[in-house]
C-alpha cells in the first residue's frame, strides 16, 4: 500500500501518454505521408500545371514550374506512380486503424472541439507572442495542437478521396464531378497536400522548438508531466532564452 507521501517522494514519475496503437500508427503515417508527398510531387512534375491542354488555368500562379527534384521520390514518373498506388493503401488502412482506435478507446474526447477552444487558441497565440506571461492551462494538448490534430484526419480523408477521383475519373465519374472535374480534382488533391505539408512542418518544428519530450512519449510512450510545456512555461525555442552571465554564486 502506498501513501501520498511515498508518491511524492518519487523523484520524477513517468506516465503512459500515448497508447501503443497511436504511437505505431503515428510513425507509419509519417513514413507513408513522406512517400506519398514525394512520389506525388514526382508525378506532378510530369505535367506541372493544372490546365487542360491548350487552355489556361485560373488559380495556380506557378503553372509550368516543376518541383525541385530533391523534394521528389520515385526516380521517374512510372516509378513514382507505382510507389504512390502502393503506399496509398498503407496511408488509408493505417488511417482507418488510428481513427477506429481513437473512436473505440475514447481518445477522440481529447481532440473534439469544445466551447471555449477558440478563446483558448487566442490565449495560446498571445502566450507565444509574449502578450501573456504564463502558459494557458490545458488538458492533454494545448488549443493549437488540439485544433490541428482534429483537422488532420479530415485533410487526410480529403486527400484520399480526391486522389481516388483522379485515379478513376471515368469509372467513378460521379466522384470526379464532385470535385469539379478531372483538372479541378487534381488541383484540390494538390492543395490538400499543401495544407498537410504546412501543418506537418509546423508540427515538427514545434516538437523540436517547444516539446522535444514528446518525441519520447510518441516512441516509448513514457512522459513526465513535470516536463510538460505548461510546467516549463515553454514558448518556441524556450531553450534558447539568454543564459545568465557568470558571476560567483552567493549563498544567502
Amino acid at each position: 500500500m502506498t501513501t501520498a507521501a511515498q508518491d511524492e517522494a518519487k523523484p520524477s514519475h513517468s506516465e503512459a501518454r500515448h497508447h501503443w496503437i497511436v504511437r505505431v500508427t503515428h510513425w507509419v503515417n509519417a513514413l507513408a505521408l513522406l512517400v506519398m508527398i514525394g512520389s506525388g510531387l514526382r508525378i506532378f512534375n510530369a505535367y506541372p500545371r493544372f490546365a487542360v491542354k491548350g487552355e489556361t488555368f485560373c488559380c495556380y500562379p506557378w503553372e509550368g514550374t516543376p518541383i525541385p527534384a530533391w523534394l521528389t521520390f520515385g526516380g521517374w514518373l512510372g516509378g513514382a506512380r507505382n510507389w504512390h498506388f502502393a503506399m496509398m493503401w498503407v496511408l488509408f488502412l493505417n488511417g482507418l486503424v488510428y481513427l477506429g482506435f481513437v473512436y473505440l478507446h475514447g481518445e477522440w474526447r481529447d481532440l473534439v472541439p469544445r466551447r471555449g477552444d477558440l478563446r483558448d487558441t487566442w490565449e495560446m497565440i498571445k502566450f507565444y507572442l509574449f502578450a501573456r506571461p504564463d502558459h494557458p492551462r490545458q488538458g492533454k494538448h494545448n488549443a493549437l495542437q488540439k485544433g490541428t490534430y482534429f483537422v488532420l484526419p479530415y485533410l487526410g480523408a480529403a486527400a484520399v478521396i480526391s486522389g481516388v477521383a483522379i485515379w478513376k475519373p471515368v469509372q467513378l465519374a460521379w466522384l470526379t464531378a464532385l470535385f469539379g472535374g478531372y483538372a479541378w480534382a487534381r488541383y484540390w488533391h494538390f492543395m490538400i497536400m499543401m495544407a498537410l505539408v504546412v501543418l506537418s512542418v509546423v508540427h515538427v518544428v514545434m516538437v523540436f522548438a517547444v516539446d522535444p519530450y514528446s518525441l519520447r512519449s510518441m516512441t516509448t510512450g513514457g512522459y513526465n508531466p513535470e516536463t510538460s510545456p505548461e510546467a516549463r512555461n515553454a514558448r518556441p525555442f524556450w531553450w534558447r532564452r539568454p543564459s545568465l552571465p557568470s558571476v560567483p554564486e552567493q549563498t544567502p
Partner: protein
C-alpha cells in the same frame, strides 16, 4: 550527452535519411511488394469497370485541336508507304473464328460512331478529343473471338509500339478504332490511317498507326507497360 545534442543528432540522422531517399527510385527490396500491390490494384480496377460507365465532356466544351500533343516512338512521324508496303490494311486475327483483313475503305463502310471524350495522359494532362471510327465491339462481333480470348493486342507500324488490353476495356462502347476526326480522315501526326482511342485507358494504351489487332488468351505486355507503367492503365 546533452539532451540538446541528442535532439540535434536525431534531427540530423532523420534529415540524412530523407536526403538519401530524395529523388531516388526507392529501396530495391521493396519493389516486389510495390508490384504485388499494383496487381491487387488491377483486380480492384477490373471490379470497378463497367460498360455502362462512360466518359462525358460538357456540352459545348472546346475541342483541344492543334494543342493535342503529337507522339510517336520512331525518329520521324511514321507514314505508311504504299509503294513499299502496298495498300494499308488492318488485320484482325488471333483467337478468333473469322479473321478479317480490312482496308481503310472497308473500315469506312462499317457503322461509324463519333464521340467527343477526354484523353487522359499518364503524365496528368487531359485533352478533349473528337474522333470517328468503328466500335471495337463491332469488330469483335465481326471476327467472333473464341471463348479463351481474354486479351487484345493492338500493334502498329510505329517501330514495335504495341499495347495489350483486357478484352472488357477493348469492347467498351467508347473504345473506337478511329480513322477520322472533325469529318476528315486522320493525318499522319494523329496516327493515320487508324488508331485506338478510348477514354477508359490512359493515353499510352491507345496505339496509333495500327496494323494488327490480335485476340489472345494471355496478355502480351506493351511498349510502355514493359518500361514500367501499369499494364492495366485503366481510367
Amino acid at each position: 550527452m546533452k539532451r540538446r545534442d541528442f535532439f540535434g543528432g536525431l534531427a540530423a540522422a532523420a534529415g540524412t535519411g530523407l536526403i538519401t531517399a530524395c529523388n531516388s527510385d526507392g529501396p530495391r527490396g521493396a519493389m516486389g511488394l510495390v508490384k504485388a500491390v499494383g496487381r491487387g490494384n488491377e483486380r480492384l480496377e477490373r471490379a470497378l469497370f463497367s460498360f455502362g460507365h462512360r466518359d462525358k465532356v460538357a456540352r459545348g466544351a472546346k475541342i483541344t485541336g492543334d494543342a493535342f500533343p503529337r507522339y510517336w516512338i520512331s525518329p520521324e512521324v511514321p507514314v505508311w508507304d504504299e509503294s513499299l508496303r502496298g495498300v494499308w490494311h488492318l488485320d484482325v486475327v488471333g483467337a478468333v473464328r473469322k479473321p478479317v483483313r480490312l482496308t481503310l475503305d472497308d473500315l469506312s463502310k462499317l457503322p461509324r460512331f463519333s464521340q467527343t471524350v477526354n484523353h487522359y495522359c499518364v503524365e496528368g494532362w487531359t485533352a478533349r478529343a473528337q474522333f470517328s471510327g468503328v466500335r471495337m465491339s463491332d469488330l469483335a462481333k465481326l471476327v467472333e473471338p473464341t471463348n479463351d480470348a481474354g486479351y487484345v493486342d493492338f500493334q502498329s507500324f510505329d517501330k514495335s509500339y504495341h499495347e495489350s488490353w483486357d478484352i472488357d476495356s477493348a469492347i467498351h462502347p467508347q473504345t473506337l478504332i478511329a480513322y477520322a476526326t472533325d469529318g476528315r480522315y486522320l493525318n499522319t501526326v494523329q496516327g493515320a490511317p487508324a488508331r485506338v482511342h478510348s477514354p477508359v485507358k490512359l493515353g499510352y494504351k491507345n496505339t496509333k498507326y495500327l496494323t494488327r489487332i490480335v485476340f489472345m488468351p494471355t496478355r502480351n505486355g506493351g511498349y510502355w507497360s514493359d518500361l514500367g507503367y501499369e499494364w492495366y492503365g485503366g481510367v
